[in-house]
Subunit: 582 residues, 2 copies
């Protein structure tokens, strides 16, 4: 038999009458006695093969086949009577003339179809079988294609792909590092990079001008369902950037991805939202803009109200509301929503339902009629709506209403799943105040350039300094984040002062980087796309595991290979390490 002529999924009616050779797996076999139907599967799809008694040798082999046996089949393409519209190849079938069994298979622990409901741990243990299932396979194909589109785009725009080390230096800021003990320099450790941030900036100092890398990054954090100990980011940096044109360049890349991968045209430029706007209107720095339900500030209405819950809250915070297009909330549902906002530290959830029979609200009796009317007017509520109100410090009010907004929109099915609402969030604060440590900390990282007009505030009001930073959001998800970086040692020192990092500490932590800034660092800036998340959005899946070939569990374990695992005493001796027994 000759070698493969087509992938299974590629055989279609245009090949009618042609002889094809396929290689793949037996997905299904139905033996009708003297006539056997085999669904053969490969990476690109499934096709139906028919084996009849005109070819007794082929029939004999077909009789011996079982699920997941590996076969090579030669046959002629012909139209199919019972057309299967669900299948790309559903209009044809292949009349087998030759069959070769290339390998047998034990009965797999689960059916290799997308429909089979399989326990997550079983899937992970037999990942090589899970990958054969069309959905996961298609995600891997999608991921590969997306990487290609990105590389092509960046290459056309003069970006160089440059690899930075995995055996890197422990970074003192940020999340917990994964450490790698050094054998040659015993007592010393490498760290796996949390991102190539400093190195890509050094590449700019080095004059490489435009850099990218689809880079593996590592964080030893307690994992949530959507996190992995290692993840991939599209890491990009350029010299002499102008913030506007850099954002345009990145929009071009996103547009290209959606055009080539999803065959969807998206409009550019993306809208820009100030961080403070995003927070005040949506209670989130990554608002989902596919629907309205904006947060309204009621503080000016209730600041002198006799209802102390509101008027007191305004003194140190605010009273704000969202309006949901539903007036039918039961006591039980309200309780549930109250519990929901309590997760965000809200002490309670006030509500006002505008029913056709009149206003219903447990707080109505505490409010003057003009206050109530002003609230209704401010929120724009009409009959059939419910107003939800939280009164607290700003952070709590905004977080709880922002989250409630998303929750209600989901419950009320207000989100158009076909919409792609991209936006840039800009004018982030440069610093956050860390209550515990009683000092400012870098909101992004300490190399972010302050807005020009805010530089004088660095020493006087760090909290007011805005950053030349930009996050790209899509439908409420942060897709990418970046900034223009500091290229002047002087400003870098001021920023370190603002986060109370002494010269000595700074020198110890980033000394080599600060040195580099003194040798002709060019203006530069960049961005990093969460590649896993981007692929998740393209694949329309909620789970990061569905876009990674060999993912780990939430306890950072690889169930297939059983990593991490114990090592020999010899290995530990070589590293001059002892395990501390519990």
């Amino acid at each position: 038999m000759s070698k493969r002529t087509h992938y299974c999924g590629e055989v279609n009616e245009n090949l009618t009458g042609n002889t094809v050779v396929l290689e793949g797996w037996v997905a299904k076999r139905r033996d009708l006695g003297g006539l056997i139907f085999i669904d053969v599967r490969d990476r690109e799809g499934i096709v139906q093969v028919v084996v009849g008694n005109e070819y007794p040798k082929a029939l004999k082999i077909a009789e011996s086949l079982r699920s997941e046996y590996v076969v090579r089949i030669e046959g002629v393409v012909q139209p199919r009577k019972d057309i299967n519209e669900d299948l790309k190849t559903g209009k044809i079938e292949i009349i087998a003339q030759n069959i070769e069994c290339l390998n047998t298979s034990k009965t797999p622990p689960f059916y290799i179809t997308d429909e089979a409901e399989v326990d997550d741990n079983i899937r992970l243990k037999h990942r090589y079988l899970d990958i054969r299932r069309p959905k996961l396979m298609n995600n891997l194909i999608l991921r590969s294609k997306t990487a290609k589109v990105i590389r092509d785009y960046l290459d056309e725009n003069d970006f160089l792909e440059i690899e930075t080390p995995i055996l890197a230096k422990s970074t003192p800021e940020g999340a917990r590092d994964y450490l790698v003990p050094s054998r040659v320099n015993s007592g010393s450790f490498y760290a796996l990079p949390q991102s190539p941030q400093i190195l890509k900036q050094l590449l700019m100092v080095g004059g490489t001008d435009r850099y990218y890398q689809i880079a593996r990054c590592f964080r030893d954090e307690d994992l949530r369902a959507d996190r992995q100990p290692e993840f991939t980011q599209v890491d990009i940096e350029m010299s002499f950037p102008q913030m506007e044109s850099f954002m345009t360049l990145m929009e071009g890349m996103v547009k290209e991805i959606y055009t080539k991968i999803k065959e969807v045209s998206i409009d550019t430029p993306f809208r820009k939202i100030d961080y403070s706007d995003a927070m005040n209107r949506y209670g989130s720095d990554k608002p989902d803009l596919r629907f309205g339900m904006e947060i309204k500030d009621l503080s000016h209405i209730v600041k002198d109200a006799e209802f102390k819950v509101f008027s007191q809250a305004v003194k140190n915070g605010s009273v704000r509301a969202i309006k949901a297009p539903a007036a039918h909330y039961s006591r039980k549902e309200i309780d549930r929503l109250t519990e929901f906002v309590k997760k965000y530290k809200a002490k309670g959830l006030a509500w006002i339902s505008l029913k056709s029979e009149g206003v219903k609200s447990p707080i109505a009796k505490f409010l003057k009629e003009e206050e109530l009317n002003a609230i209704i007017e401010e929120t724009g509520a009409t009959t059939g709506d419910t107003i939800f109100i939280v009164a607290d410090i700003d952070k709590v009010v905004l977080q709880s209403l922002g989250s409630l907004r998303i929750q209600l929109a989901k419950e009320l099915d207000l989100i158009d799943k076909n919409k792609l609402e991209f936006a840039w969030v800009v004018n982030f604060p440069l610093f956050d105040y860390d209550e515990e440590e009683e000092r400012y900390v870098a909101a992004h990282h300490p190399f972010t350039q302050p807005n020009k007009e805010d530089i004088e505030l660095l020493s006087t009001s760090p909290g007011k300094v805005r950053a030349q930073a930009y996050d790209l959001i899509l439908n409420g998800v942060e897709v990418a984040g970046g900034s223009i970086r500091i290229h002047s040692q002087e400003i870098q020192s001021k920023v370190f002062d603002a986060i109370s990092l002494s010269k000595e500490e700074a020198q110890e932590k980033f000394g080599f980087f600060l040195d580099a800034l003194e040798y002709g660092a060019p203006p530069h800036g960049g961005i990093a796309f969460g590649f896993d998340r981007l692929v998740m959005l393209l694949a329309e899946t909620d789970s990061i595991r569905e876009v990674i070939a060999f993912p780990k569990t939430t306890s950072a374990t690889d169930l297939m290979s059983d990593a991490p695992s114990t090592v020999s005493d010899r290995q530990l001796d070589e590293l001059k390490l002892n395990l501390i027994k519990k």
Copy 2:
């Protein structure tokens, strides 16, 4: 000023009369008083800028510029009188109208030119400055372009780019692993992958059909000058391969690289050499085929000689020779060459010079005339040649003559540097015999498919089994190595038997992989190119550090960031680790 219009290196005579904007570094500045010449450098090259007193503002700034200051310059391109043939841009210069100084620079610790001789450690410490030097910069550009050509080629041939984990399972065979202690599963360790070998095979079991990855790999070995603790390989695997057509596919890729990167056309198909031929004729499994000087076996001539050094050697080994086209070796030179072969455990080096005045040889007196004549005839030596002879066990004879062959060819300048002699080395032995452990070990790795006709020898004469393996060599360097893999559990077990790996051990070490083979593993095979080495060949450099952005020293240290480094007690506590003090 508008943004950059061209890279410095791109400005040429076709732009004469145009206004251009450049951004880069001051490479050199000559102040002739009222007329300043500045060489401006960026990633793509250097261009000369002239600043005169027609633009006093620009002149004032130009006066303040020093080496490595960062500038933006606007000016008009004009032909240059004193054409500089060494420079791409040497036919033009730019008359500056506007200059902006974007950053200053301290005086760098070395000149940013290729000519400057700089201590390796200083270069590594200030790598960001070293990268600005044209040679290193061009190597990084070359590396990026090579990766792109490879990706494009593999993409066109339906290969998917799939990422495999860096936090992997410790592999018991092979070199020493880098370990990563797990915090969540304390006492357990991940290992950084020495190669994605098992995972890429599992991807084939998973039906991904064609996989590639430009993959980072790690080995904790004592480093030599040309090794790095982390290195990059172009890792490729495909299902249903036919060895011949797979090799053709890979030849196509290499041809594409040389065409696109070096603008050189290379002939395919590459020649194939049997491993045994390579060893017998060149004393190496990666022979340099740019010159002859083949090894000749003299054993049949001297096996019964009275000269015991020879006749005894034949009993457990052989007597072989190479012929060098020089007859002028002094006693001192012979001593030097004798020392050279002793490094390969040869006990001595016999020689016969055919001088115009007659044969000169310290061993002539021990040989019969017909023996001497037969030796001369066998080696094809004529007047002006010297025959070098080693008598020992085969391994020593071949290694020492193979190395001497290269050494003499270099000394005698016999190697045509412009030649590209590619070849596939095939029919490797599947096993090597480990004298120390008194057992066979896998020559490549234990998943290599034996030659079909040798399978019966697995249990009877493992040493004679040949592998379906292929190494791609170029000019004496191994560029890539691969094999067809075992896809049958039965053959895999036989191979484990041959290397005396018990069922239990095999299960413990590779259990999950052996399981996978039972679920419909397709025939598959692949290859891995040493990417760093490939780029070294393309860049025509002997040092791996010249093709890596941030390399480490031979003691696996990053002199720039000072990694590895000590970590805090808190970090060690979290990992439940103690350092063993010396």
